[in-house]
């Protein structure tokens, strides 16, 4: 078997099948389950990296399921009828983010989750969520985008609500499930409308056919509604703090990656399927929701006393920055292409920075809860005496998320501030204001939980959890100190895939 050729489908199939086999191994012995998970996670991460290396070095990779050979995308009638995976630089970039988050999350979960608290269930659902995210990133087919949207929804709701014996997880899972289901129905309706009009589901084929008819525009509105909801844009975000606040820490960082994958799907629809949407109103809608998201979530974070919900609102506010960056790019497509590209690069770069920084914060909060038994900022205090590493990690993540130089959040936010300034200085001012609010929020949380006299004894944090946080902390530092290298080699090709890569995407599948 030619492994590089089949890597895209294997990257989805390995975690999908691996997830279903996980409980069977657990029935035999938990060490077999852990070994199996390590094998599946390692193999999936390696396959994702292999796909990324191929895409970044040789261009878009297509994989046709059921064809004589993977590159045989078009049937004899000149029509793409099979399921086709289409991986461009942006898809590969998203795949790498999910791999980083999943591997770190599983390493953390090894000692974070207790055996008698549904550990096997959590690991199974986490692996399934990873498979769904990779499917959403790699698929070149609109119906399969919906299928993987549902796979991620089911797994995510399971992760939020599986702890039925404690917390308000089931309630949060129910709310999330209702929202995901309604949003998913909108997406399905849009897929059905486009299929009814063009008789095809392939993204590239549909992109070539779509010409702005009434049905096309109705489908666009439905896709916008469904995908903005799952991305957690204000005012469709309300499920997110509930879900993030109740899910265990290793699951939350997967849920954050899940919202980013939904953003990716939105960008794919707007730029590739609809060709950048010449109507500026759609760009302004994305900009307005982005600005609203970053500001409202930051304000809501100010008054939170539960560290988990506080970080959750911080995570929602970061979605606003990504929406603002790409929204500015969408609005400036024709008028000022140079700034539009910088804005999109900023938005995409912020996805990686957010995954690393907010992931670090959620893991640190999980460590605090495990070590001290509480997340209430009113009762915590002086944890820095006992949890020195966790204290450092929380501070690093908080400063990075607030955009303090030279940490990683600063570079991407600077790109977004400067490019949105051109569209309107008010946008930049509001984005900076939200960052200032977040800085205040995190300084308050840090002082409340970690500084001052020791108020309660904290248990030591297990080494695997510290190692997982350490990896993300190194990411915060590396991305912060060498942003130009990351932008040049990873982010710029991904942004180009959206900005100018539509024709290449279509040619890779349709061949002309």
């Amino acid at each position: 078997m030619n492994l590089p050729e089949h890597a895209p489908i294997l990257a989805i199939a390995v975690p999908l099948l691996g997830a279903f086999a996980l409980p069977l191994w657990a029935k035999l012995h938990r060490s077999l389950r852990d070994g199996w998970l390590a094998l599946v996670a390692g193999a999936t991460a390696a396959l994702t990296a292999l796909v990324a290396v191929q895409v970044y070095t040789t261009g878009i990779q297509v994989y046709t399921l059921g064809a004589s050979f993977p590159a045989d995308t078009v049937a004899p009638g000149g029509f793409p009828i099979r399921i086709i995976l289409t991986v461009d630089a942006l898809s590969a970039f998203m795949g790498l983010i999910t791999a980083l988050v999943a591997v770190v999350g599983f390493a953390y979960a090894w000692r974070y989750l207790a055996e008698d608290e549904g550990k096997t269930l959590a690991l199974t659902l986490g692996t399934l969520l990873w498979a769904g995210m990779l499917g959403m990133a790699f698929t070149g087919d609109l119906f399969n985008l919906f299928v993987f949207f549902e796979v991620t929804s089911i797994a995510a709701c399971g992760l939020v609500g599986y702890r039925t014996w404690a917390s308000r997880g089931p309630e949060a899972a129910f709310k999330t499930m209702v929202m995901y289901t309604v949003g998913g129905l909108f997406v399905l309706l849009a897929v059905a409308l486009l299929y009814g009009e063009y008789g095809a589901l392939n993204l590239a084929y549909l992109a070539r056919q779509i010409g702005g008819s009434l049905i096309d525009r109705i489908a666009l509105a439905l896709l916008l509604g469904g995908l903005l909801m799952k991305a957690g844009a204000v005012p469709l975000h309300m499920w997110a703090p509930d879900a993030y606040g109740e899910a265990p820490a290793q699951a939350v960082i997967l849920l954050v990656a899940n919202t980013q994958i939904s953003l990716y799907a939105l960008f794919r629809v707007l730029f590739t399927l609809y060709g950048g949407v010449p109507d500026p109103g759609v760009g302004w809608l994305v900009v307005a929701l982005g600005t609203l998201t970053l500001l409202v979530a930051a304000l809501m974070a100010v008054v939170q006393m539960d560290a988990g919900r506080l970080v959750a609102f911080g995570a929602v506010s970061q979605i606003g920055y990504m929406l603002l960056g790409v929204g500015v790019g969408l609005t400036a497509v024709a008028a000022r292409p140079a700034y539009g590209l910088v804005a999109i690069q900023g938005g995409i770069f912020h996805m990686l920075n957010d995954a690393v920084a907010i992931g670090l914060l959620f893991l640190a909060v999980g460590a605090v809860e495990r070590a001290s038994g509480s997340r209430n900022l009113g009762t915590l205090g002086g944890l820095g005496h006992d949890l020195r590493w966790t204290t450092g990690f929380f501070l690093l993540g908080a400063l990075a998320l607030a955009g303090i130089p030279p940490l990683n959040g600063f570079a991407s936010k600077l790109m977004i501030y400067q490019s949105s300034f051109l569209l309107s200085p008010i946008l930049s001012a509001l984005a900076i204001l939200a960052s200032i609010l977040l800085l205040a929020v995190f300084v308050r949380a840090f002082q409340g939980a970690f500084l001052g006299p020791r108020l309660r004894k904290a248990e030591p944090v297990p080494v695997p959890m510290l190692v997982a946080m350490g990896v993300l902390a190194l990411g915060v530092l590396a991305l912060g100190l060498f942003p130009e290298l990351v932008v040049r080699h990873l982010v710029a090709p991904a942004a180009d895939a959206l900005w100018t890569g539509r024709d290449l995407y279509l040619q890779a599948v349709l061949g002309r």
Partner: protein, 108 residues
Amino acid sequence: MTLLTGHGFWNPLLWLAAAGGVTLLALLVWSRGRRDYTRGTDGELPFLSGEKAEGAHVGGGHLYWGFVEGLRPYVARLRALHSGLVNDYVAWLVVILAVAFLIVLVGG
């Protein structure tokens, strides 16, 4: 190493060098300060608004109290929107969908 950011640029290594210079300057100023205080006395204790009790902690609910109180009227309105009722969540989804329809159908 220099990242172009639209209007300007960003080079973290230059920033670190500048931060190092500022730190050295601060240390220089600090080293020229008073040396006549005695270690281990009350002069080293933090002043917490006249709080006399030992081990007093400025908790998460107290830091930036004025700042948070100032924002509370605005946040109270936002909090009211976060009702926790899933009906409201879905209603907002319908509102945004209506706005999206308006934009793509009328604007397009």
